[in-house]
Every structure is written in structure tokens, then in C-alpha cells.
């Protein structure tokens, strides 16, 4: 495998984690357009830990995930009052605030960025990405996931049949933030250079795009979406300048003809059934 493709593969693993972070939050009916910020928190914190304090990378990622998870839960608490688009706008604001914070955070380079991280292999990236994807797929079969779906479908009814919707929503935000932080930590150590612009609105949008395109009702949808976003441009080489427009068009088409995204429960069933039959 050439270094070029290895690097693309690593990128898609990092994007997969970002997409999963949006997916987990979206599963409770909350759209976050600010997950780039949690990614940034993970990237900066883990880089500081490995570069300045010589903490081993894996430990640094775990610490960053926990820290971002706590921040996510704290952010989610006031956000409980907001729904739908109002929540989405608040997360945009949060994302911009965090980006602005890192721009001013001179201790870690401010707008000049931060470097000095040890480069990691694509295998290490996918160890995390694959592991977390499997964990999410197991979670999708659990009681907790059913509760999240209930909150997603009808929050009022969920509360009235005995579910603690507050805990569910805050928990989803916390876990989503933690996953985004791991994505950020891996990004920082794969790229070996980070700057605040890496974690802005565009990044948050990229995560959402991967989820919506790949399939927003099943975990593996994020995998499809991430691979698509990273590798499709390779096939679009002849129209390289227009690849973003192609994604925009694809997004609109998917929303119009297949709102749940490319992959959904019934498609998975069809695919696995065929394989079993053959």
C-alpha cells in the first residue's frame, strides 16, 4: 500500500470517528453542528499531554476523551432547553467559541498552530476507529439505544412512559464529545501539526455530511459516508475542481430520494441475506 493511500485510509478512519460522534448525538434527536470543537479539544489536549508531558499516546487519548466527555455533558445541560434548529445554532456558536479560544491560546501556538507530535500509523488509527465502530454497533442492540431512539422519536412520550430523557440526552452528548475527541487526538498525531482552523465549522459540517450521506439510522452508515467522502474524490480526479459541488449535489439528492442515507436497516438485511443465501 502506498503512503498516499495509507494516508487516505487514516483520514477516513479519523472522519469515521467524527461521524460516529455526530451519529450518537443524532440518535437522540439532537443535531450538533459543533463537534469540530470537541475534536479540537481532543487534538489540543492529547498533543499537549504527549508533547509537553510525555504521556503515552493511548493514555493521552483516553484522558482527552474523558475530559471532552465531561465538557460535552456540561455543554449539553443548558442545551436541554433547546430543540431542533435552535440547538443546532447554539452548537454552531459553541464551535466558533472554542475555535476562537484556541486562536487566542498562545500557550499552544495560537493561530500559529502546534507541532511536535509523534506520527502514528494507519493501523493504530483503525484500531481505534474499528474498535469504536464495533462498540457502537453493539450499543445499537442495547436497552440504552432503545431509550435513545424513544427520545429521538417522541421525547415527550418517552418521558411519560418512564424514561429519564435528561440523562439520555446528556449522556449521548458526553459520549459523542468523547468520540470526537479521540478523532481529534488521532488527527493531531497523524497530521503532526494542528491549528485552530482544522476544527471550525467546516469540520463539523464534514462529520454531519458523512453521517447523512452514509446513513443516519445505522452505525455502519458512518463508515460508508466516511469512506465515500475520502475516497470518492479519487474517482472524481477528472473533475477535481468540482468535487465539493459533487458532494453538495449528492447531499441534496440523498435528502430528496433517500432521506435516511445510503445504508439503512433494510439494505443491511438485504445484503447480509444475499450473502448467506449464496
Amino acid at each position: 500500500m502506498s503512503t498516499y493511500y495509507a494516508s487516505l485510509l487514516a483520514e477516513s478512519g479519523i472522519l469515521l470517528l467524527g461521524a460516529l460522534s455526530v451519529y450518537i448525538i443524532l440518535a437522540t434527536g439532537q443535531l450538533s453542528l459543533g463537534n469540530g470543537a470537541f475534536m479540537g479539544i481532543g487534538a489540543y489536549l492529547s498533543s499537549y499531554l504527549t508533547v509537553a508531558l510525555n504521556v503515552p499516546l493511548t493514555l493521552a487519548l483516553v484522558i482527552s476523551a474523558i475530559a471532552a466527555g465531561i465538557i460535552g455533558a456540561i455543554v449539553a445541560f443548558p442545551a436541554l432547553r433547546l430543540k431542533g434548529i435552535y440547538l443546532a445554532m447554539a452548537t454552531v456558536g459553541f464551535g466558533e467559541m472554542v475555535r476562537s479560544f484556541f486562536l487566542n491560546f498562545d500557550a499552544m501556538g495560537g493561530s500559529g498552530g502546534y507541532r511536535g507530535m509523534q506520527h502514528i500509523s494507519v493501523g493504530y488509527v483503525w484500531l481505534w476507529a474499528g474498535g469504536i465502530l464495533i462498540a457502537v454497533m453493539l450499543l445499537e442492540r442495547s436497552r440504552v439505544w432503545l431509550e435513545m431512539q424513544a427520545v429521538h422519536d417522541d421525547e415527550t412520550a418517552a418521558g411519560l412512559i418512564g424514561l429519564n430523557t435528561t440523562v439520555t440526552k446528556i449522556g449521548a452528548f458526553g459520549v459523542g464529545a468523547a468520540v470526537a475527541a479521540i478523532s481529534g487526538g488521532l488527527f493531531a498525531h497523524h497530521n503532526v501539526y494542528i491549528e485552530p482552523a482544522n476544527f471550525g465549522f467546516d469540520r463539523s459540517i464534514e462529520f454531519v455530511l458523512a453521517v447523512i450521506l452514509g446513513g443516519s439510522t445505522v452505525g455502519p452508515g458512518s463508515l460508508v459516508g466516511s469512506l465515500l467522502l475520502v475516497f470518492l474524490p479519487e474517482f472524481l480526479r477528472p473533475i477535481a475542481d468540482w468535487r465539493l459541488a459533487a458532494f453538495g449535489t449528492l447531499l441534496i439528492v440523498v435528502l430528496l430520494v433517500r432521506r435516511q442515507g445510503i445504508l439503512d436497516r433494510s439494505l443491511i438485511r438485504t445484503l447480509t441475506f444475499r450473502r448467506a443465501a449464496a
Binding site: L82, G84, Y86, V208, R243, G248, L256
Partner: protein, 292 residues
Amino acid sequence: MLIQQLVNGLTLGAVYTLLALSFSLVMGILGILNLAIAELFMIGGYLGFTLITAGFPLPVAVLGGMLGAAVIAIAIEKIGYQPLRDAPLVTPMLSTLGFSIILQNVATNIWGSDPAQLPDEYFGKQYAFGPVNIGEMQLIVLVATVVLVALVAYIVQKTPMGRALRAVAENREVARILGVSADRLTMLAFILSGSLAGVAGVLIALHYGTITPYLGVEIGLKAIAVMVIGGTRQIWGALVAGPLIGIAEVLTVAYGGSQVRDFVVYGFMILILLLRPQGLLGGARSDQGQRV
């Protein structure tokens, strides 16, 4: 010095007002966030730029930017909103995001990703009022904003179409009951909103004398904050919130350092969302949960 800053802040605020008004025309009436407005603004700016440098007079440039943006707004409404109007409100927002991505890409390919500069000879004139200098373009921006806001006010308050728009904004269910004409109202809201964004784009591009394809995101996100601060269901909130944020921004840059400014603006927006979701100017609470 302070007065000079206030005037500069007012100019920036005027543009925020126009763009926030553009967002709130769609948001207030249909409850959806049209993210492509940011890009309509940017495209409007480029169109105006192109027309001015081709030698056309300012009114033609403004009209060009306005028409161009309005036409794209119509396309967005037809393709990206109409088919999705019964979907959850987040879905049409994502489709406008699709348009936003496309428009930015188109602009990059047509005009390049480097900043385009307006030669100095355009609108370079300065008028001195005592210690305060006002550029020719600054004056135009301020006057145009007042005129446009008055025009929108007239349309929304006095015309039958405007009254229908307000009725729909009060109670979204009315839109469904109104049936066929609800489609026309939706279209009208998109066109009005797109035109405003286009004009705002021309004005700010000429005021700054420079433009990039990324202008939309930068100022558009800020305009969303302004809309929220003014009140999303409150078309007039933007009139107060725009200048307020413009001045606050210019002052934080002048006295606090340029980078804290975004932090302050978005922090303020989040506080408003949480504590006063109906916006600064009040009105009915907009976030009340559904009843059983």
C-alpha cells in the same frame, strides 16, 4: 476616535442587519434555517464586484447582485425546500447546506480562491465631519440599509402579501390551511430573503474593497448570531441587534484585541438562546415544548 469607531461599527452592523433580516425572513416564517443565504451574500458580492469593474454604475451592480441572488434563492426553494417541507425542520436545513457547498465551490472555480481586490479609484472619497471621517461607500451602505429596511417594512406591514406572511409567521399551521397560496408565500419569503442577501453582499464587498469565496461563511455565521440575538421570530430584532453587534465587535477589536471578538459575539448568542429565546426585543417565547 471613539466616535469614529462607532461609525465604523454602525456600518458593519448595517450589513449584519441586512443579512440577519434575510435569515429571519425565512426562519421567522418557515422555521427553517437557510444556510445557503451566506453563499447568496457572497455570490451577490462577486456579481456586484464584476459589474462595477466592468464599468457599470453602482445601482446596476446592486440590482445585479440582488437579481442573481434572488434567482438562486428561487432554485433553492424549488429544489431544496418544497419537496422537503413536510420533513423535520433539520432536513431542509441540510439541503440548503448542500446548496451552500455547491455555491462556494462554483465561486471558487469562477473567481478563484484568492481575494479579489477592487481598484482604489472606486468609492475612495472621504468626507470629514469634524474629527470623524466617513468614506463614500460607508455612507452608501448606511443609507441603503435604511432604505432597504424601510422597504421590507413596507412590504411586510402594508401589503396584503406581507400580512399573509405575518399570519403564517404567527402560526405555522395556517400555512397548511392556506393551501395553494402557502406555496406562493414560501416562495416570496425566499425571494425577499435572497434579494436582501444579494444586496448586502454587493454593499459589503464594495465597502471592504475585497472579497473571497469564504466571506459568506465568516459573515453568515455572524449574521445568524445577530438574528438569534434580535429574536428569530422577530423580524425587527435584527434592526437593533445588527448595530449592537457591529459596534461591540469594532470596539472589542479596538480596545480588547481582535481575536476575543468572535468569542464575545457567539457567547452572547448562546446566552440569548438559553435565557431569552424570544430575542432581545421580546415577544412570545418561541421554545415552548409541545403539549401532550
